[in-house]
């Protein structure tokens, strides 16, 4: 047990160093952005900012309650960044926001590991220590991944998760767009004789937007349910050994949000009896939050080929189709 504890402490020191370096990087960005208060104090206030999950024993309006809490949290974070960095542009502020999220994740990993180590030591619980020791390589890898992601967030480089918005941007190809809901845009293009409504998060700042709400408004308010098909494009986690950038088709709402957006998409599709197709692009967690690898970027053409094939095989000329590019649009405009 002594050896396990010693090994965990070595790994914990590494995680602590990563968490501190991440914090220092965010503070540097806040300083460069002209922060109007003590950056360390400001960041510390956000690092441990929490959200309490809504009651799940009573499922009535669970998704709406969760969405409300998530909205409150997001607006609180956005407002506090806007308050201290008023001179920074919207996109640069969005990048600061995701940098803070990454630093927060690292800080949380550090505090959780430290908690279990101290608890295991205090109670001489060798099972707890052994579990922690066995999990440590994966935990350290996760911490390193979040740390690597900081560079991409700082410089505004597109990340692997941005493949959905990249496909949407390629389909739009500079077409006129409008902001239908907060941080989410929609544009209309013609393809294979079909009318495509293409939805993506508003770039090039780092945001995922509200694709579910945007889809709901387009399908129900603008098109009154007259949609032949919904096609969703998103990055998906691959299994170890699988090829990065592999393009796979399926059905269902391809979106990895906490629940509300996915629920809206499923509800809209079900209520209006619209078939829901999905195209996913496989990648690891590290690839999803670090600068987009070429293999993932090269998948755009393959995804568009699959969309075209789907349009030809499953819809007819003159039909209206909604394409949703899901993911973080960091470094990708429209």
């Amino acid at each position: 047990m002594y050896l396990w504890i010693r090994n965990i402490k070595v790994h914990l020191a590494k995680i602590e160093r990563l968490a501190k370096d991440a914090k220092a990087r965010v503070i540097e960005v806040l300083r460069k952005g002209g922060i109007r208060e003590d950056p360390e104090k400001f960041l510390n206030g956000l690092l441990q900012f929490f959200i309490i999950d809504p009651v799940r024993d009573e499922p009535t309006n669970l998704m709406r309650r969760l969405e409300h809490l998530l909205d409150v949290r997001e607006h609180r974070l956005k407002d506090s960044i806007r308050r201290v960095l008023p001179d920074l542009g919207d996109f640069a502020r969005a990048n600061v926001e995701i940098m803070i999220e990454a630093a927060r994740a690292l800080d949380q990993i550090y505090r959780i590991v430290r908690h279990y180590l101290i608890l295991g030591e205090k109670t001489s619980n060798w099972v707890l220590i052994m579990q922690l020791e066995l999990e440590m390589p994966q935990i350290v890898k996760l911490a390193e991944t979040y740390f690597k992601a900081l560079d991409a967030f700082k410089d505004g480089k597109p990340i692997g998760d941005g493949i959905g918005p990249l496909v949407a941007a390629s389909l739009l190809n500079g077409a006129k767009v409008k902001e239908i809901v907060e941080d989410t845009v929609v544009g209309i293009v013609e393809r294979k004789g079909r009318k495509l409504y293409v939805i993506k998060a508003k770039g090039p700042g780092g945001t995922v937007g509200k694709p579910g709400e945007a889809l709901k408004r387009i399908v129900e308010d603008e098109l009154h349910g007259k949609v032949s098909r919904i096609i969703m494009i998103d990055a998906a986690l691959k299994f170890e050994g699988e090829k990065t950038g592999e393009v796979i088709e399926g059905v269902g709402a391809a979106i990895g949000d906490p629940g509300p957006e996915k629920f809206k998409i499923e509800s809209v599709a079900m209520k209006n009896n619209i078939p829901l197709d999905s195209i996913i692009i496989k990648q690891s967690l590290e690839e999803a939050i670090t600068p987009m690898r070429k293999e993932i970027s090269d998948a755009v053409e393959e995804v568009i080929r699959k969309i075209d094939k789907g349009l030809e095989e499953r819809t007819k000329e003159g039909d209206v189709v909604v394409v949703v590019g899901v993911g973080n649009t960091l470094g990708i405009a429209q």
Binding site: G156, K157, A169, K294, S297, I332, A333
Partner: protein, 96 residues
Amino acid sequence: MEVLHEMQGLDIYGLLLIMLILFLISSLLRTLLERRRIGKEEYETKTLIKCPKCNYSEERSFQVGDYVLKPEKKCPKCGETMRIHRIYAVKIVPRK
């Protein structure tokens, strides 16, 4: 005879011990070399600029402020405004 047996027994155990130690050292070295190999994997971010009219393209290193669809310089072939087509990370191949 008993002493001889004991000596032979010690030799066998000693040999096994040496083999075990050698196996452990070689495993450790293999792990360290593997870690060093994985740790060396580095990526460089590139920006691909493309002309929407004649498809002429150029690749350069990423610069802060680049984003996909950002208008760039004029196309040297047809004079159309080029745009950033893709931004991606490519593996740096170490020089041997």
